[in-house]
């Protein structure tokens, strides 16, 4: 990386909305159906058909506008973007040109200890195109029109991002917000979130922007990172060797790890935007705009900062919690019960619970676990009724079925044994079986006590109180 240059990045993020039906017709809006089964004369653009705007699309877009602190244009219109392509049945895409539904917003992203404010130029609504299918098993190209008319929002950032890391963090925050609002599945791997990346470089300290290149087809968080690193290095090399960067559109090939020129500025298409005469000016009332704002949940960045401030969580833990709305909601519910330390709950949610969820590739809402049960379990640990080790077994049971922790403890005999008279025999046997460890301890390697306590725990099948056992082990060795 050349240290004399600065990278300037802007992102255009397309997100498919998860409305029940498509944007202009009553076809079901669903991913993964048999090809050409979710289309009708309207989304196929057959002669004589007309679009009618789905109000749900407007509501979802306005929510996103509020989440990104935008001004909402209550009176707006839809425009036709004209171009020929086989996946676009009308040969125009209904989009928004000069009056987007939302504009002049920003998004705060967390970069280490810094909060970076990234400008959001606009958010507009538009329809998706179909999908072209190329395959070696047949000649030519096939088209699946299921995706035609799937509602999209396009979120355009200001050129405020300065590194691949920032761009990745911005995109991750956007997708998290989409999930928080419940308006998109936000799955980059299924194409429900897609990204075009604008990159330019300039000498450090310069105030004017360099010539930018736009990269299309950047379809994962990792690809965004790699594409930006590649492209900024390419441009820096061009400039460093005295050359000129040309404005062009490039296609990112993630497999090959490089971008290829698609078209230069001279070939830029004239989309001949004009207001769609089939769709009149549409109005979102001030009351509606206010009601949608009031309906927003607490957003991830705010959550993270609150967790750090109110509960003293590490920022990295707070971020890990808030990046997943389901887990963050669960955490909040546990804390709201007010019966245990927030930090303890966070440790369980980010530790054993996350591990079990990741192993099974499920979400917390897919399990039987309730905040009440988790908190009750933590209380059992705090009271000394069960050990942390036994609690793991209790947790697994509570995730599998709706059961009180006390019940699991009883059923599985997991109650902790703190009575020293009941443990004395076990301690004696462990010391007798491990003479080398005892000898080591006596020579001053006192940390072997941990090993011996562990052996005792094992012998009690996790039920022994580790603190009691520890005291007993040390006392017994010293008596020897």
């Amino acid at each position: 990386m050349n240290n004399n240059f600065e990278t300037v990045i802007g992102l255009e993020v397309h997100a498919e909305l998860n409305t029940k039906t498509k944007i202009f017709c009553s076809c079901e809006n669903r991913f993964g159906a048999e090809v050409n089964t979710l289309c009708c004369p309207v989304c196929m653009g057959l002669p004589g058909t007309l679009p009618v705007l789905n109000q749900q699309v407007v509501e979802s877009a306005v929510k996103m506008g509020h989440a990104l602190n935008c001004k909402i244009n209550g009176v707006t219109k839809q425009d036709r973007k004209n171009y020929f392509y086989p996946d676009l049945p009308k040969a125009y895409q209904i989009s928004q040109f000069d009056v987007p539904l939302c504009e002049h917003g920003y998004l705060d992203i967390l970069m280490g200890d810094d909060v970076r404010r990234i400008g959001v130029t606009r958010i507009h609504i538009e329809e998706d195109a179909g999908k072209l299918i190329h395959d070696d098993s047949f000649d030519g190209t096939l088209c699946d029109y299921n995706r035609c008319g799937v509602p999209l929002i396009e979120i355009v950032s200001e050129p405020d991002l300065r590194s691949a890391e920032e761009a990745k963090a911005y995109l991750e925050t956007i997708t998290t917000i989409l999930l928080y609002l419940g308006i998109s599945d936000a799955k980059m791997q299924e194409g429900s979130v897609r990204c075009d990346v604008n990159v330019s470089v300039r000498p450090k300290g310069a105030t004017e922007f360099g010539t930018r290149c736009e990269m299309k087809n950047v379809n994962s968080f990792g690809a965004v990172y790699r594409a930006i690193v590649y492209e900024s290095e390419r441009q820096m090399e061009v400039l460093a060797s005295g050359g000129t960067v040309h404005q062009e559109t490039r296609r990112w090939d993630d497999a090959k790890g490089k971008s290829i020129v698609m078209r230069s500025k001279e070939d830029a298409q004239d989309y001949r935007y004009f207001p769609d005469p089939d769709l009149l000016t549409f109005v979102v009332s001030d009351e509606k705009i206010a009601a949608l704002k009031a309906s927003l949940p607490e957003l991830p960045t705010a959550k993270t900062l609150r967790y750090v401030k109110d509960f003293g969580l590490q920022k990295v833990d707070a971020q890990l919690l808030s990046v997943n709305k389901a887990r963050a909601d669960f955490f909040d519910s546990c804390v709201a019960l007010g019966r245990c330390e927030a930090k303890t709950v966070a440790n369980w949610v980010l530790g054993d619970i996350a591990k079990l969820l990741n192993e099974q590739r499920i979400e917390i809402t897919d399990t039987a676990l309730t905040p009440e049960h988790l908190v009750s379990m933590i209380e059992l640990i705090n009271k000394g009724t069960i050990s942390n080790t036994a609690a793991k077994t209790v947790l697994e049971e509570m995730m599998a079925k709706d059961v009180e922790p006390e019940e699991v403890v009883k059923e599985k005999g997991l109650a902790q044994i703190s009575d020293s008279s009941a443990l004395a025999g076990i301690v004696d046997k462990v010391l007798a079986d491990n003479p080398k460890a005892v000898a080591d301890y006596k020579k001053g390697k006192t940390n072997v006590s941990g090993f011996l306590v562990g052996q005792c725990m094992r012998a009690t099948r996790g039920q022994g109180n580790p603190a009691t056992l520890r005291d007993m082990v040390i006392a017994a060795i010293e008596k020897l």
């Binding site: 004369p41 002669p47 004589g48 007309l50 009618v52 049945p89 040969a91 125009y92 001949r272 004009f274």
Partner: protein, 482 residues
């Protein structure tokens, strides 16, 4: 004795209910008449005998079973070939859609079918409704029943000729710049261009979406009223449609102030047309109307605004005909660009290509502000001017066309002159108003002259009432013997 095919829809509906005639007899009379005169008129692109007979049979069965029948049940109708008819070819008189069979009905067709109307077929038009003479059809040239060496007007020339030649009592057309009113005037019948939004456009193949409206044709005002009231009203599939219904068409002009805009009677309007329209205005005055002189100074600009806006929208609306999914497909062995180029070069006729090029130009970057944007501003000025005029009068009287029907081929080589003949009709579309055309005399060659009455938005009832008042006073409109 009056032949069955000569009766109006209103008369036929009464005769059906009185069981003086069956729906099948009416349909056979219409099909026989088509067989007899179609060779001279050439109105039809598709005749749907089987569908017509099946519909008629259904009506007769309902009557026999003592069931209530709808107002238009059993009445034959011809449909302009740009209105989608499920299972019946809808070609827009273009090679591009020569074999296009829509899998759905236009909303107007759903409404009419629900009334058990008898569709006799699809009728000729200028390709994609672009033209004023019906000569831009890829398939055939329709003739004017009053003189078969002359054009029927356009674009809905097939609809007007079918009604004027008594092949059917009713027809549907569409009007973007005069396409219902012009052929109604040339063929001596009644044609209504409804207020923009009064009739659903769902299923009408788009030419210029902000100007297009479906409208009814008939030989009498009552028939046009009957058909209009069956098709108007809001449709949830057309965001630009509005709820509306037809009131009582009383046929009275007493106390109405009728405005005569001097700009519609200037240079370029033939002396015979002017004289006829003035005479008709005088007649309406004698029937109790007040005639007031008004001015619409922006009239001259309406034509330019119309051709810019309509071509711009057309260039986008017609872009979907790319040879990929349906319709004519050109060279499929070359590149994607070869397919587009060959499909659109060979599939469209000259006039359609001219408008697509014009429309593409006016929307292009660098020209948008100078043309499209200014035309849209002009549209607002014109609409406001006409709205202001309606504070001085209740309706406006003008000619429909500068001349009567011209000869086939007469204006084909001069598109600008052809465009100029729309001068009296485009303002109605630009301002989204209703306008009616009805016969008000004939020229020295015996060709019909039409009068246009323009009203404020959703004043269809008033316009039909004025037309009916005139029709009654003159003892009905003449029908051409063929």
């Amino acid at each position: 004795m009056k032949k069955l095919y000569e009766y109006s829809a209103t008369e036929l509906a009464k005769m059906l209910r009185a069981k003086e005639v069956s729906a099948s007899e009416i349909t056979e009379a219409s099909l026989d008449r088509i067989a007899a005169v179609e060779g001279q008129v050439d109105a039809y692109l598709t005749v749907t005998e089987d569908i017509a007979r099946a519909s008629a049979k259904k009506v007769d069965e309902k009557i026999a079973a003592g069931e209530e029948i709808a107002p238009l049940a059993g009445i034959p109708i011809a449909i302009k070939d740009n209105i989608c008819t499920k299972g019946i070819k809808t070609t827009c008189a273009s090679r591009m859609l020569e074999n296009f069979i829509p899998p759905y009905d236009a909303t107007v067709m759903e409404k009419l079918k629900a009334q058990d109307i008898v569709v006799t077929g699809k009728v000729n038009m200028d390709e994609f409704a672009m033209g004023g003479s019906c000569e831009n059809s890829y398939f055939k040239k329709t003739k004017n029943p009053w003189d078969t060496s002359r054009v029927p007007g356009g674009s809905a020339g097939g609809s007007a000729a079918a009604v004027a030649s008594c092949e059917v009592p009713l027809a549907l057309g569409s009007d973007t710049g005069g396409s219902v009113r012009c052929p109604a005037s040339f063929c001596g019948i009644v044609g209504l261009k409804p207020t923009y939004g009064a009739v659903s456009r769902y299923g009408l193949v788009a030419f210029a979406s902000s100007l297009d409206q479906i409208g009814p044709f008939g030989r009498t005002v009552d028939d046009v009223s009957l058909l209009y009231s069956a098709i108007c009203g809001r449709d949830k599939r057309d965001a630009t449609s509005r709820e509306t219904s037809l009131g009582n068409v009383v046929g009275d002009v007493k106390g109405l102030r009728l405005g005569i805009p001097k700009e519609y009677f200037g240079e370029g309007i033939s002396a015979e047309v002017k004289a006829s329209v003035y005479a008709a205005a005088e007649k309406l005055r004698s029937l109790g109307a007040e005639i007031v002189e008004i001015s619409l100074p922006s009239t001259d600009y309406a034509l330019a605004a119309y051709y810019i806006i309509s071509s711009a929208e057309a260039s986008s609306n017609l872009a979907r005909y790319d040879g990929v999914k349906y319709g004519f497909s050109g060279n499929r062995d070359g590149t994607l660009n070869d397919l587009y180029l060959s499909t659109r070069s060979q599939g469209f006729g000259a006039e359609v290509k001219r408008r697509i090029m014009l429309g593409t130009y006016v929307l292009s970057s660098g020209y948008y502000d100078a043309y499209y944007k200014r035309a849209k501003l002009l549209q607002n000025v014109i609409a406001k001017e006409v709205a202001d005029a309606f504070t001085k009068c209740d309706a406006i009287l003008t000619p429909v066309n500068p001349t009567t029907a011209f000869h086939l081929g007469e204006k084909c080589d001069d598109p600008v002159q052809m465009y100029a003949s729309d001068v009296c009709t485009v303002t109605v579309n630009i301002a989204g108003l209703p306008g009616i055309s009805f016969p008000c005399g004939s020229d020295s060659a015996g060709m019909p002259i039409g009068m246009q009455v323009i009203g404020p938005k959703f004043s269809e009832t008033r316009l039909l009432s004025i037309a009916k008042c005139y029709e009654t006073a003159v003892g009905g409109f003449a029908v051409k013997e063929m």
